[in-house]
Symmetry: C2
Subunit: 120 residues, 2 copies
DNA sequence: TCATTAGTTGAACGTGTGTTCAACTATTAT
DNA sequence: ATAATAGTTGAACACACGTTCAACTAATGA
C-alpha cells in the first residue's frame, strides 16, 4: 500500500518536506522501543528507585523505606524495570538485591537534569 | 516531622544505606520535572513529531501527513510540547511552523537509540 | 462579504497504568 | 515443625492520558 492512499484530514502543504522526513524516519519498532524506554523512566517512583540504585545496590525493603512506599508497589515497579533490562537482581538469603543494569540510564538522567536547569 | 515516623510495611534492613541514599536524593520537585520530561517524550506520537522536527521545521498539516493522523491530535500533542518548551512555533499566514526549542531532546534520543541497540 | 482552509480548544470516550489488597512462595530462626 | 519475614504476583480500583468530535478563531482568496 502506497503512503499516498492514507487518510488525512488536510492537504499536504509541503509534499517534498513530508516525503523527505518520512524517508529518514526511524522504523516503527524502533520508535515503539524508544518511547517505551522513556515512558519507563517517566514516572517519579521509578525515577527515585533508579536514583537510589545509582548510589547503592539495595534490597526491596531498603527501597520501600527510601521511597516510603509498600514493598508490593516497589516490587511491581522493579518487575517492569527488570523486564526491560534496566535493573538486575541477585538473591542472597531472604533478600533480593537490585542494582542498575545499564549505564545509559544515568546518562539520560544527566541530560534530563541539564534540560531542567536550562529552563529556569 | 522526622523521616523515621513514616509508615512502611517492613523493617529497615540497612539503615545506613537508606539514610545515605536519602541524603543525596534530588529534591521532590526536581524528580517531578524530570519524570514529566521523560513522560513527555515517552509516547510514539510525540517521538515521531520530534524526530520529524529534528529534520525540518514543519507546519501542523505537514506533521499530520507524516504521522498520518488528524490535525487535531497533532495540535493537542504540539500544545503539550510547547507548554514544556520542547518545541517552539511561529505563525506565517494561515500556517503555524513548529521546530525544536531544545537540543537536549536530540541528545536524549541519541542515548535512547544506543540503549536499544545495546539490548539486541 | 463570504467561503475555504489551517489550526486550536474543550468535552467525552476508551484505554493504559500505578497502587492497593490479599494470597502466595521461599528462606531463616526458634 | 512452626512462626516470622522478604519478596512476588494477579485482580481490582481509581486516575491519567491520547484520540476523537464538534465548535471555534484567524487568515486567505474569490
Amino acid at each position: 500500500m502506497s503512503r499516498n492512499e492514507f487518510f488525512c484530514d488536510c492537504n499536504i502543504i509541503h509534499k517534498e518536506s513530508v516525503d523527505e522526513v518520512l524517508k529518514k524516519m526511524p522504523e516503527e519498532n524502533t520508535l515503539l522501543n524508544l518511547a517505551s524506554l522513556y515512558k519507563l523512566i517517566g514516572d517519579t517512583t521509578r525515577c527515585k528507585i533508579l536514583f537510589a540504585l545509582d548510589q547503592k545496590e539495595m534490597c526491596v525493603c531498603d527501597l520501600a523505606n527510601v521511597l516510603n512506599m509498600t514493598k508490593s508497589s516497589i516490587s511491581h515497579q522493579l518487575a517492569s524495570l527488570r523486564k526491560n533490562k534496566i535493573v538486575k537482581c541477585k538473591k542472597i538469603g531472604k533478600e533480593v538485591y537490585y542494582s542498575l543494569d545499564d549505564d545509559h540510564i544515568v546518562k539520560l538522567f544527566e541530560i534530563g537534569l541539564e534540560h531542567i536547569k536550562h529552563l529556569k
